[in-house]
Symmetry: C2
Amino acid sequence: MKISELSDRSGLTVQTIKFYLREGLLPKGTATAATRAEYDDRHLQRLRLIRALREVGDLPVAAITRIVSALDDEKMELHDLLGTAQYALGPHVESRADDGDWRAARQDVDALMAELGWRVAPDAPARDLLAQTFLALRRLGFPIVLTELRPYIEAAAAISAHELAKVTADAPRERALQGLLVTTVLYEQVLIALHRLAQEDVSARRFGDGPHGPHSSPGPDGS
Amino acid sequence: MKISELSDRSGLTVQTIKFYLREGLLPKGTATAATRAEYDDRHLQRLRLIRALREVGDLPVAAITRIVSALDDEKMELHDLLGTAQYALGPHVESRADDGDWRAARQDVDALMAELGWRVAPDAPARDLLAQTFLALRRLGFPIVLTELRPYIEAAAAISAHELAKVTADAPRERALQGLLVTTVLYEQVLIALHRLAQEDVSARRFGDGPHGPHSSPGPDGS
């Protein structure tokens, strides 16, 4: 297909596609004339992945370049490829090794991972993310206890098993990567929205009017 | 206690406390002299709640004023009080009723809530949050199917039941509200961090080296 069709089908402008070609994010097409090239489905797939990384992951071009290089490195195993993409996603929190409270929170995270037996790299950014939250909870007078964490641990494990079950080692790497990216970023938002909705439902059942009351599902403003 | 002790124990400066007094967020103390007042534990509890709302919820003073008014309105039932606080929390997304795709996504959310039988107000902001995510998924070529959502729905319901089980109707409203706020904002971050960590663990088990391989938990950079 021509670049104009590639533009139509990917939803990206010709100008944007030319930028990705210059940056090396998109492999060159097959030259058919001095100023014309032919593109195929692999180019379209790559553009869709880049678009997802930009729009969903909100990733800068440098991070996308890293992910695309990993994708093109056939020797990199799928686990490391998925990790490269996940580590590139935010939110990133700064490790504050000079803060004793922060170090204690980070040690709690490491102890938790060891206790659960989870195979997570020592430098996984999510360890710092969890440490930051542990620290905030403790400062507000909410101590971290395992029984309190248990339902969240179980939910995270169940969801991850479901998500990774859809990825197969022999499927196209590009598709696996896009799938993981979407589940990580967008399904985390789905989970948060559903959490808020479920909270309201449980609260309505426990503290609201009964189902046969004057208004069956009162909003906070009483509407 | 004097305002200086209130400052020490709440971790807020005297200047900030005086600002909250002027804004009516904190009830006045008992005057003991022309320029002195005595404060008690109720003031301290209120300050801790305000601090949590500001630091954890990142809420503007106007939103905190609304929540504090609801708290002081003894006639407001607990369900409506919790809803007022939850609705004040972000993220808020704009309803885009002029966009046909957006309306379709929002209808999908409403249909899902009806199918699940969840008691959620028609104007709950989390409905729009979920609609926005549905729309983004569809635009990237990931259709929304109930079987795909099921693990997230089950996780959200289990977590919410656990969280609300700790709230009792006869407990102090201030404490219940602070607890809900913390679970909503901070435990959602806990959940996201644990999700990332669990993903890595499941990926390592499925696609990484075996547990007896050369490195038992390889990071994406091969470390």
